[in-house]
Symmetry: C5
């Protein structure tokens, strides 16, 4: 992990939405992975998150790469399951510093993802890459997937299964997110950016809350590249996460 | 890919319908793979698409081969799933320049096909073959499998999963197909020919729209070998796709 | 294939009914595989079809062996599926000239059998054995499994998947069976004998129709070993299939 | 097989009920595998049947061992399935002369067990062990699992799949069991002892029937170790099975 | 086993609840695995039970480690299934003396866990580690998962499948637990601590009953680390289990 963090914290640029949500998230500019690759470099992100196909065709090795090795579309119903679509060896060849893998605890198929992540984590460590778990409780049993209990459980699942870092949703307030960070122990916690918020200030307050809670940072996609000024947003995120500026300072900068 | 394209574009002759639809598509002439092999050569197609069995018994190496390594019949219901029926090694021995694999995003089994395509793509690249994804969203969640959103998503799935090229259906108009081509990024886009259209001119206009939209070409089967003059149709397709002639020029040629 | 055919045609003696139907098909004599092995030799069959267990305990290498490497009982309901129960390596050790494998297109599990047959076919060819596909469309979607369309589709599935020969049911008349033979292309076609017909003459007319349609022969079990004079039936089949005698000539011989 | 039979016949001591039925079958004495191991030696059984765990902790190599390599509890409902829980290599290390495997023809999962037994049989033979199939038709389609037709089918399944011996239930009378023995061909037949019968004489008559029918012997558990005098029962079984004494002689001995 | 037992008995500190139940079991202190690791050392436990992730980040090799290699969350419904999430090789590298694996007999998926445990047990023994089975009957067929019959069956399943030790729930009284211990034979029996009891004395009486019944010890989590004085509880457990003190003596110490 350390190779791509700054003082143990980081801002990651997520760009696997093309597979997970489809291109409805994209406009004419950000549909192009070159634009994102360029943004990652110029925005000084600590890492960029791609699926294999995008990485193979667009990754330029100027920013650390987190290669997402599973994924699913939003088209399928039923109990969620995403399987490995890129080998760990291939991720290493492409130059990844870490592999990312989504786990859906609560799904009827969680056992398959636990097993697969277990294997991937061991291979990644042998090849000197970190293993980051996206942990999103889902399935029939999950009524509210951002309740404090569910988010704390998600964080803990990542620790127990051996993730170097977990990517989880925000639990709504600093106090409960601090609990989640405690539950993750020595596994670093990144907040998942989620859909674009109504106001930029709202989003920055959330990010500040995440940092106050002791998390390592955020992995943001739409709130950056759907922003009217992505580079400004990138600077603000770095200010909040790396320099631990306040929201006021940040907005003033 | 480049070995079988002309100025980055191409017209591919598809002939895996015997497995996918059964012989109802065939007449006494085109039921014979020798006829198709001959047509592929004489029609100067950029590639011919066969399943393993047809390739082993009829492929003559005079035209590049795209070996389709999965498939299913139209006899089975339920959520669609087609698994690998030919090893990548065998495809290479037969002389294929690329392997083709159908993915059904939206199927309850999309996770299996994502995983399998992931493995096949990596093996193909090691053996210097391209990996082409047929991407057809299906399953209970898909109401209209040629809507612009669905087609754009299909194109993007191919890019994200590492396809060198995607074969998708036509979205109905140039504008929306251009969007799909943008979503596919550096993955080349081929339009899937589909069932024989009522008039030849209609089909050629569709093909022209595909090229106008920036796609790399078409993969056509029935509209060629069910045509009354397949070689004429082949010439017209080359004119439109490779030389970028207009429909008028083409029909006049 | 050629090692066990005579002028590209052949009469095969099928004896895997003990697994597929159970011993209800057997009387005190033909329940004994020794009786069948002896009949295969004395009846000059082009090959005999056994499951692994029968082959290991009774096969004497005096007649070519087609080793059936999957099978299921008639006891189970649901969508049909039969998996490999004998390795291809073991089939070779036992002395088989070919492996046989049943595929049920239309079954919800056809994808598993397509994949398994694909692997088996490649292994068999490496070990210089032929791969014969029993193709029987089944499952909820199949209303009539001997309709001309279904039989032609079955034949084609065998060709597309790489079978050296397909074993299919009779479609009811010469014309439609000729169509199925055309659909199989260079894959040889054997008619599956099916349950014992009421009169011997009826059965021989069917066989003659199969040969008139251009098929390579028949794979017969019950119509031979449930016959009152199996050796006479064997002679008649050879006359029809190998010597292409008419039914009249054959019955008169 | 021959290493543990006497003149091609044998009495096997079955003790895998702890897994299959749970300890309700046991009293304070026979719950202890040491008691059974001792009984197997002193009762001069031709073999003793253990699961891996019992064999590893109690087997003393003074009697041939049949290691049962799959099993299931009686706690689960649904279509029956038992998978391999001990490798064939491990069975050999423990000193087994044969591996045992239960197949449930008629189960929706019979295809999995056919495949698994196929692999196990080949491995066992390579390591010079016999492969014995417990064949118990089950599942929704089986109304009466000891009807003569079902038992004969079970015997035949064992032969077809390559078992050296089959363990089947009693069909109720000598005549129908003789038919099952005929169906098993060169595969030896052992009757499964089943639950303790009301009178000892009844059980011995059944065993005598099995021998009269031409079977190789019996595999008995509860009727021996739930008996008030297990060693006497062992002597009686040997008299009937090995020496082919009549029930009268046996009871008089 | 012997490396971490004292006179064949032991008190194990269980800490895999973070995965199995989620952090609702934790307070601010015991949520931190460092606190538990320290407690294990200072409390002189015979072993500590961690999932891979916790072991990799917190295990200090001062107390023997039992690495739990499967697990599931409490979020998912349906028939229970937990698959291997840590390789046996990795467990050895981390320094584990034993691997732990949960089996749910009675689940529709028991066959998968029987197979997986079978493989894991053999690998563990090759690497000189013990294999401990957590055996918890579950699923539709299980009405009361702590009835004497069910607990005795659980113990026996562990023995039959080759576990060196079984971890089972308490059956409610000494007599019935003694029966379970008898059923486990040479496999050691550990009582699963379960949720925190209302009074400490109640819990200690239960532990005493377990020892009276002949078991090897207990694996306790919540009743230790949710206690107001965990070290005192640890001393009391050692007194009862290792020194076989009475509850009175123990409470007086």
């Amino acid at each position: 992990m350390d190779v791509f963090l700054t003082e143990n914290r980081g801002v990651l640029l997520a760009y696997d939405q093309g597979l997970e949500h489809g291109p409805t998230d994209f406009n004419e500019q950000n549909v192009d992975p070159s634009f994102i690759m360029d943004l990652a470099v110029r925005g000084k992100f600590n890492g960029v998150i791609f699926q294999k196909g995008v990485a193979e065709k667009y990754y330029d090795r100027k920013v650390p790469l987190i290669l997402k090795v599973n994924g699913r579309t939003s088209l399928a119903g039923g109990e969620p399951l995403a399987r490995q679509n890129c080998s760990v060896e291939r991720a290493a060849e492409i130059g990844a510093s870490a592999v990312g893998y989504t786990i859906y605890p609560g799904s009827a198929h969680e056992n398959i993802m636990f097993e697969e992540f277990g294997r991937i984590q061991e291979q990644a460590h042998k090849l000197k890459m970190a293993a980051i778990a996206w942990v999103y409780p889902r399935g029939e049993a999950i009524k509210n997937d951002t309740s404090p209990e569910v988010i704390a459980y998600a964080a803990r699942v990542g620790l127990e299964l051996g993730a170097d870092a977990v990517k989880i949703k925000y639990s709504g307030d600093v106090e409960s997110f601090r609990r989640a960070v405690r539950c993750a122990g020595k596994a670093k916690v990144f907040m998942s950016g989620g859909p674009k918020t109504r106001s930029e200030a709202d989003f920055l307050k959330q990010v500040r809350g995440v940092i106050d809670a002791g998390a390592a940072g955020v992995a943001v996609g739409r709130n950056v590249w759907q922003s009217s000024d992505p580079l400004k947003m990138a600077r603000e995120l770095r200010a909040l996460v790396i320099e631990r500026s306040s929201v006021q300072e940040t907005l003033g900068c």
